[in-house]
């Protein structure tokens, strides 16, 4: 309603009629204003410029005849079809930051598993912002270095937008045919070229098994720097040469090492809060000359097919899990084989002897971290839901549309599990190309 008032042209008389239910032209005016059927105006500007509110206007009559006020705006938005758009505008009120002439650069090399910034990457970018924004008088820019391999768009979100929201001021994408697969020598040559041309003050890399730990150590060895590894806390410290002090894990997580922050930092997850209040430019950059072709002594021969049944449940990436609703166990095992999924089970299925104990998912079994978790005939006891907290996408196949697993699921299918699994197997058998897809992709 505010938005109509905000328009430049107002017709006070018409507004007055719209407020006056007893006016003979009331309905006509409401229709003209497009508020037919909506309740009366809740807020308007009075003749003296004071905002007036109608205390009776908000709310709706509930199913048992009582008046209800829903302050979350969900129901009213659904009724009016107007609030949703308004809320979305409000959600993007982050401060926009553009840094024209940075005093120096803080370079970040994110892992980007599957072409997306991981939460570890976002934490690292938050740490980079902390280092860059320390002195408001001399703003510094955060430079993200991504390789050609990561140039896909993931999850429907635009890549630049994701970078901008994560706090990246400059985005440097090193492209080339030689940057796909595991090519540490080519990546290193790219980073050295960045070092030579831009000389960032700090290099931040994730200390993760996805590649950051390896690449960061290679970079440090090449630059002749002694990096801090396993960093989990960074504090300002005037006595340190760089102005920062860090706390790092050592001796297989049994020691905390306090030391001045070096140039190359390999940080653990949750080393800093990710950026949430500002949006940055994520301006694309290019190197003036492309990095030299490195002599490759390491050749990537591609990923090896691993027997999914042999993968430990806790680190499996794709789990097909069975519960009480599964009756056709042969069909379930066959579907798991066809999909190439690791098998899991709920407690009931294990107790009934259909699945071994080491396949149990949940608080009493294994806490899984799969990217995709398909729950077949599992209603979702709270212990089971706890066990799948770390999963990205949950697919539920169930007969009961009211169960908790359906509420948790990103995709829920109501129906008979054995016929749906049989249909899945049918599709896969008809189109064997499907099963070979994604073989080249990096495991996340």
């Amino acid at each position: 309603m505010n938005r109509e008032i905000d328009t430049i042209r107002r017709d006070p008389r018409r507004e007055w009629i719209a407020r006056n239910r007893l006016h003979p032209e009331h309905l006509g005016v409401l229709a003209e204003l497009g508020r037919q059927g909506a309740s009366a105006a809740t807020e308007w500007m009075g003749p003296n410029g004071v905002i007036r509110k109608n205390p009776h206007a908000p709310g709706f009559t509930g199913p048992n005849g009582l008046k209800r006020i829903d302050r979350s705006g969900v129901q009213q938005a659904a009724a009016a079809g107007r609030g949703a758009g308004h809320r979305m505008v409000a959600a993007d009120e982050r401060r926009r930051v553009t840094i024209e002439a940075p005093a120096f650069l803080v370079a970040v090399v994110p892992d980007m598993p599957g072409g997306r910034l991981s939460s570890h990457d976002r934490d690292l970018l938050g740490l980079a912002r902390q280092l860059a924004d320390a002195d408001p008088a001399r703003p510094c820019a955060v430079l993200a270095v991504a390789f050609g391999e990561h140039n896909r768009e993931g999850g429907g979100e635009l890549k630049e937008q994701a970078f901008a929201e994560a706090g990246v001021d400059r985005l440097l994408t090193i492209e080339g045919d030689g940057h796909t697969g595991f090519v540490p020598e080519a990546w290193l040559a790219g980073l050295v070229a960045v070092e030579r041309e831009l000389a960032p003050r700090h290099w931040l890399l994730p200390d993760s098994a996805l590649g950051g730990a390896d690449l960061g150590r290679r970079l440090a060895a090449r630059l002749g720097e002694r990096p801090a590894t396993g960093v989990w806390q960074v504090d300002a410290d005037a006595t340190a040469p760089s102005g920062w002090r860090c706390t790092a894990r050592g001796a297989v997580d049994r020691l905390d090492i306090q030391r001045p922050l070096p140039r190359v930092v390999l940080a653990l997850a949750e080393c800093a809060e990710p950026v949430s209040e500002t949006r940055h430019a994520a301006e694309a950059m290019t190197l003036s000359q492309s990095p030299p072709e490195a002599l490759s002594r390491i050749e990537d021969l591609g990923q090896v097919a691993v027997d999914p049944a042999g993968v430990a449940l806790a680190e499996a990436e794709f789990i097909l899990s069975a519960g009480n609703g599964v009756k056709d166990w042969e069909g379930f095992h066959h579907a798991a084989r066809m999909l190439g999924a690791t098998e899991g089970a709920s407690r009931v299925a294990v107790d009934d002897g259909f699945m071994p104990r080491d396949r149990q998912v949940g608080a009493t079994g294994t806490w899984v971290t799969a990217r995709v978790y398909v729950a077949v005939g599992i209603s979702g006891a709270i212990q089971h839901l706890q066990g799948i907290q770390g999963c990205d996408k949950v697919v539920a196949i169930n007969r009961d549309s009211g169960c908790d697993m359906i509420k948790r699921a990103d995709l829920a299918v109501i129906g008979d599990s054995s016929s749906i699994l049989a249909a899945l197997v049918d599709v896969l058998e008809r189109d064997p190309a499907l099963t070979r897809k994604g073989e080249k992709q990096d495991a996340a």
């Binding site: 021969l301 090896v304 990436e317 190439g340 907290q389």
Partner: protein
């Protein structure tokens, strides 16, 4: 370079580990796996010789731990009767001594664990050594598949139990992942019989490390789930309410074929089908 009949010269860099529970000195887990892997190379090149190399202090505790590696010998002639100890004073940087030694008598393959179990434990040593020697480095080795001439095909561990096949040109430095085959038990007899040859070596004090403060690891603070929302109701729901999927797609009254297609589409989007 090397004729096929010649065996492979492998140097295994071993360190003194620390038992996670008792804190006693022991053979380091990853280094022992590395030695196991080096011993398995005899299947490809029967005349392979394994050299054990350690740089560090010489005292009773360390010697007991290092003898744990000597106890992994089976039979005579594998080179496991002797371990070379490059003696270093306390607080020394072991990289120059090892680099000098390896450059003087270069093996064809250097095997190490990914990181030490005591001290800084940064996992940098193999990288710095590879840089100094100018050799390629492959991390996270699980298994060696074949060796032809000067090319070695091996499997690298990836997260989530995945494996990647890599070919590397020798000489090379490789680090061993925790997923590699577990080390065999250390036998008492060979461990007692084996000799530890102490050699003097370049000693460079590690000045940077001496300036750092070490303390037992503190528990890391858990991150709180911060919900930034304008509405008090949303914040309350996030703090107190049960986790809700929200935004999930619900398919009711579909044929099994349609359901299967919807599921397959999601699986393909996520790229988990292989």
């Amino acid at each position: 370079m090397q004729p096929e009949s010649r065996g492979l010269e492998v140097a295994v860099l071993v360190s003194v580990g620390r038992h996670p529970v008792t804190g006693r000195a022991r053979r380091a887990d990853q280094d022992a796996r590395g030695l196991e892997l080096a011993l398995s190379l005899a299947a490809f090149r029967p005349d392979s010789r394994v050299r054990l190399l350690h740089a560090g202090q010489r005292d009773d505790d360390n010697e007991t731990a290092l003898r744990g590696y000597l106890g992994m010998a089976r039979g005579v002639g594998t080179g496991l009767e002797r371990l070379t100890l490059l003696e270093q004073p306390e607080g020394a940087d072991v990289v120059p001594a090892l680099a000098e030694r390896l450059a003087a008598t270069p093996p064809q393959l250097v095997v190490t664990g990914a990181r030490a179990e005591q001290g800084e434990g940064s996992g940098l040593l193999p990288y710095v050594l590879a840089e100094r020697l100018g050799w390629p480095l492959v991390n996270g080795l699980v298994e060696v598949e074949s060796i032809e001439d000067d090319r070695m095909t091996l499997l690298q561990a990836l997260p989530r139990g995945q494996r990647r096949r890599i070919q590397v040109r020798l000489p090379a430095v490789v680090t061993v992942d925790g997923a590699a085959a577990p080390a065999r038990q250390s036998a008492f007899g060979p461990a007692r019989r084996g000799s530890i040859k102490v050699e003097a070596a370049l000693a460079v004090p590690d000045e940077a490390f001496a300036g750092w403060t070490l303390s037992p690891a503190r528990k890391r603070p858990r991150r709180l789930k911060i919900v930034k929302s304008a509405s008090a109701r949303d914040r309350f729901k996030a703090a107190a309410g049960k986790a809700q999927g929200g935004g999930g797609q619900l398919l009711t009254d579909v044929t099994p074929e349609q359901a299967a297609e919807a599921i397959l589409r999601l699986l393909e989007e996520e790229g988990v089908m292989r």
